[in-house]
Amino acid sequence: MASVRMTQVTALILRAVASGRRYGFDVMDACDLPSGTVYPALRRLERAGVLRSGWEDVDEARSEGRPRRRTYALTEAGRDALREADAKLQEIRRLLGDFPPATAGEA
């Protein structure tokens, strides 16, 4: 199982997925990151075995007359990585220190 380099982006994304964001675009919104950042990161995380992807219910998609969306969830390894991610986010908060919180994202 490949390891993940924990960056702010990966940490944010893991946190977003852990808190129930299933779809790529939801993760983007939660992290306030553009698609060109989130998707490549999702692919890398999936490849590293931290995330696992599935598909949304086909009936739901069909009832709305559109193709299915891919869903993302943490794997077992992902739960370990999440601890690392939270530590990373904690560290960022600490570094920001006295700065007033800007858009806090999801985390």
């Binding site: 779809y23 790529g24 675009f25 983007m28 553009p34 698609s35 060109g36 950042t37 989130v38 998707y39 490549p40 692919r43 890398r44 490849r47 949304e56 998609a61 709305e64 007359g65 559109r66 193709p67 299915r68 969306r69 891919r70």
Partner: protein, 871 residues
């Protein structure tokens, strides 16, 4: 709709097995959220991530090393392809570096995205830029809520009096908020303060960094010192940071002296700039200004009213500040970038062709690799690595060419190319070159891939590699390349042909004045030293007399500006015997002030009456000489208009017409001559225009005008030793400089078209001679069976010419399609001029004929025995 298409285009990067699901995922997300199409761009980096997953540095290096080795084995091929690419990529890099610096990069001022040009435009009067008057400025200044600061300025020149020679400095007269708008403040001393730009304030000045170092030795104690500027003692209050020289090459900033109680209303001579308040937009300023313009008109019904605004189409014109300076160049530069883009396409076509030939030669190698288990994907990667490596090499070489080319370009460039100092090879230019190289590598690299990689190559292994059947597809690829090359080359040739014809039309324009054997220079009289018409008149007569006393000088004269030198200075005039109805705008007439013997000195023919004399400056005399266009416009039915009277619209003082001259191209070479009126420089008496102090001098000499410069300088010194002589040049030079932007475009388009022609010819020659070499055996057989050489010759030439013919038709249609873009740069020739199209098409056809005739003749001389033995 577009996002679906985009996702599908991008999906080619995604590895095959994952592609379908990948498309579904993106479609699903985008369909579930309407209105988020801008998020679709991320599909590209996403697809790229998937494509490159599993690529390792090692593997890539190995590929690249193999590619370099393969290329090195064929040095001639590699050099030819590399140089072709270097020319194409280099040309693009060079032009892009100019476009990037001049048009794309933000201006080098803080938060420059908020800097606006705040002026008007009047399409109804054919005036692209209408600046402000003092009263207008005050009205706007009080009214603007969408701008955080607003200022007006006017570029000027000032004689700076230092020990020794007087120096003429580029200066700008500005209002107090000027530095706030620019966001740049003095590094030493202070800005102008409130009230300093009003009449009666203490005269102060801010120095440019260069001027400070040059003329004051960088002495910090200069602050507070008074310096003589145009005869006015000004106290220096600040020094600007290094590199700041807006507008133009300003080195000295002087506050305006607006008479707040009685500001001038109608003299529109100051350009406006503004800085957007936070959260505001250009559009908001534009809308706000429209309201302010109407309230200004309502407040000054004598000078401006809604009817005039409507008639003139007068409207606010708010746009990014850089657009004010680059508008003229913008179109020409984008066209040039498009042109070199075409050159690159032709270069790619040539290299693609070389690669096709090479691929054919390597057919056996390919077949062997396939037999040994190389997958199609491996081969595609191998091909593309090779072509991209080559393209990057060509790009690196092109960068060197571009670096040299930009230097040449700047030497050729119109003298006042804005932002020229910012042009160079920087990060974004490097990125551009890299992207262009990779993309062109992919473009020409894909040709052989489509031709070969999917083929069953076992046939190639069996026989001698002369696959006569699989040739059809390759043949089609090559034919496409020839057609494309011919078409692209023709488009460029037509474009440069049209520009060349415009240029020659411009050169043959009857300017209305003589250009040979004439020297000109400028001089400006400080108002403090020359306060009235008498002193200016004395200077005028004194200088003229001394200049004409120089041996070899036939006549000399003064004027406010010489033809093709200055911008418009126009006022609405009316004929005294049929005034313009109330509320309408009179004819806009260019006004000039000229001395006696101006028309002789400038070689402008008098058609009727006389030129101005010194008597016309006598008290109570109000004379005017008008151009033929003005005479026709005011009195279309009169045989002679001498003795008729005209005046400024709404004014009571009329001037008597004493002479009529031929029309002169005053503003631009390529314009329809506009009406002109010439007044005396320093008329005396009551109620006459105040004397003109910014003067141009012209001398008609026997020969070699530049050899008179020092004598003229002596003459000027004898009249007033404190006045510097500015910009001595011949009238022919003035004309040449005025045509510089056109000649610049002509030369560059010509170079581009020349390269296109060369590459296109090489391409046709290469393809035809390759076809011949492939068919040597067949031709040999036919000739052995008795086919005459002439038939073979005709057939081979015919083959080349068929492709050329198709290319010419496509090219003509293409040229016709893109000619609209060129139309605004053309003069005296229509964008669809049949002559240009016909001549360039025939010319290109002839070159193509030659390019296919040479190999065809070789084919016709094939010795059948040799040919048959050759395999």
């Amino acid at each position: 709709m577009w996002t679906r298409l985009w996702v599908r285009i991008v999906s080619v990067l995604v590895p095959g097995p994952d592609r379908e699901e990948w498309i579904e995922e993106w479609d699903g997300e985008l369909a579930a959220r309407s209105g988020r199409s801008s998020d679709a761009w991320g599909a590209l980096p996403d697809a790229w991530t998937l494509r490159t997953q599993g690529w390792t540095m090692d593997g890539m290096l190995r590929e690249v090393r193999a590619a370099v080795k393969g290329l090195a084995r064929k040095p001639f091929f590699t050099a030819l392809a590399g140089i072709t690419l270097a020319i194409g990529i280099g040309a693009n890099t060079a032009i892009f570096s100019v476009v990037d610096a001049v048009l794309i990069n933000p201006l080098p001022y803080p938060d420059s995205g908020k800097l606006l040009s705040v002026n008007h435009t009047a399409p109804g009067l054919n005036l692209p830029v209408v600046p402000h008057s003092e009263a207008m400025y005050l009205h706007y200044l009080n009214g603007f809520k969408t701008l955080s600061s607003f200022a007006i300025f006017q570029q000027d020149n000032v004689n700076l009096e230092r020990e020794g020679d007087p120096e003429r400095i580029s200066a700008s007269v500005v209002t107090q908020e000027f530095f706030d708008v620019m966001g740049v403040h003095p590094v030493l001393g202070r800005d102008f303060v409130t009230g300093e730009d009003r009449k009666g304030a203490e005269p102060v000045a801010v120095l440019g960094h260069g001027l400070w170092e040059r003329s004051f030795g960088g002495d910090r104690s200069v602050i507070g010192r008074t310096v003589d500027m145009d005869g006015v003692q000004r106290r220096v209050v600040g020094v600007m940071p290094e590199g700041f020289s807006f507008p133009g090459k300003t080195e000295l900033w002087i506050p305006m002296a607006i008479d707040q109680a009685n500001p001038s209303v109608g003299s529109l001579s100051y350009l406006g700039i503004g800085r957007l308040a936070s959260g505001q937009t250009e559009e908001a300023t534009q809308a706000e200004m429209r309201g302010l313009l109407y309230s200004f008109a309502d407040a000054h019904p004598d000078d401006l009213n809604r009817q005039i605004i409507e008639q003139a189409g007068l409207a606010p014109d708010v746009k990014p500040l850089k657009a004010l300076y680059t508008a003229d160049l913008q179109r020409a530069l984008w066209i040039l970038l498009g042109t070199v883009g075409f050159v690159l396409l032709i270069a790619c076509a040539n290299v693609a062709n070389l690669f096709l030939v090479r691929a054919e030669e390597r057919q056996r190698e390919q077949a062997l690799r396939t037999a040994l288990g190389a997958s199609r994907r491996d081969m595609v990667r191998h091909y593309l690595t090779e072509s991209v490596t080559l393209a990057l090499g060509g790009g690196a070489l092109g960068l060197i060419l571009a670096w040299a080319g930009v230097r040449g370009l700047l030497a050729l460039a119109p003298i006042d190319m804005p932002r020229a100092s910012e042009i160079g090879i920087d990060g974004s230019v490097l990125a551009f070159t890299a992207v262009v190289s990779v993309v062109s590598g992919l473009v020409f690299g894909l040709f052989p891939v489509f031709g070969y990689a999917r083929k069953d190559l076992s046939g190639a292994l069996k026989e001698g590699g002369r696959a006569s059947t699989g040739g059809r597809e390759r043949h089609r690829a090559r034919s496409t390349l020839v057609v494309a090359q011919v078409a692209l080359a023709l488009i460029l040739l037509v474009g440069s042909g049209l520009m060349a014809r415009s240029f020659s039309a411009m050169r043959n324009v009857d300017l209305g004045f003589a250009t040979a054997d004439r020297l000109s220079f400028h001089v400006s009289l400080p108002a403090a030293e020359y306060p009235d018409a008498h002193s200016v008149g004395a200077f005028e007569r004194g200088l003229q007399q001394r200049l004409e006393a120089i041996p070899g000088v036939e006549t000399a004269a003064l004027a406010t500006a010489l033809p093709l030198e200055d911008q418009k200075n126009a006022s609405p005039l009316e004929a005294a015997d049929h005034p313009v109805p109330e509320g309408q705008l009179g004819t806009l007439v260019n006004l000039r002030r000229v001395s006696p013997r101006y028309f002789e000195s400038m070689g402008i023919t008098l058609l009727d009456g006389r030129g101005l004399t010194s008597d016309d400056e006598a008290p109570g005399v109000r004379s005017v000489v008008i151009s033929q266009a003005l005479a026709r416009s005011f009195w279309p039915n009169d045989a002679s208009v001498l003795g008729r009277q005209l005046r400024e619209q709404g004014d009571t003082l009329a001037f008597e017409v004493v002479g009529v001259t031929r029309d002169v191209r005053f503003e631009k070479v390529a314009e329809i001559p506009e009406p002109m009126a010439y007044y005396a420089i320093a008329p005396t008496g009551d109620s006459v225009p105040s004397p003109a102090r910014s003067l141009a001098v012209v001398m008609k000499v026997g020969a070699d005008p530049m050899s008179f410069v020092s004598a003229a300088r002596e003459a000027l010194r004898a009249v007033d030793p404190r006045l510097p002589m500015v910009e001595p040049r011949t009238v022919a030079t003035i004309v040449r400089d005025a045509m510089a932007p056109t000649s610049f475009t002509v030369v560059l388009l010509g170079i581009a078209a020349g390269i296109a022609l060369l590459l296109g010819t090489v391409g046709i020659y290469g393809v035809v001679s390759y076809m011949v070499s492939r068919r040597t055996q067949e031709i040999g057989v036919r000739m052995a069976l008795g086919a005459p050489g002439g038939v073979v010759l005709r057939e081979v030439v015919g083959q080349g010419m068929t492709l050329t013919g198709v290319g010419l038709v496509v090219g003509l249609l293409g040229a016709w399609g893109v000619s609209r873009v060129l139309a605004s740069l053309l003069y005296g020739v229509s964008a669809t001029d049949p002559m240009t199209y016909a001549v360039t098409a025939c010319g290109l056809g002839l070159v193509a004929l030659l390019a296919s005739w040479i190999p065809a003749r070789r084919a016709a001389q094939v010795d059948p025995v040799e040919a048959l033995r050759s395999e």
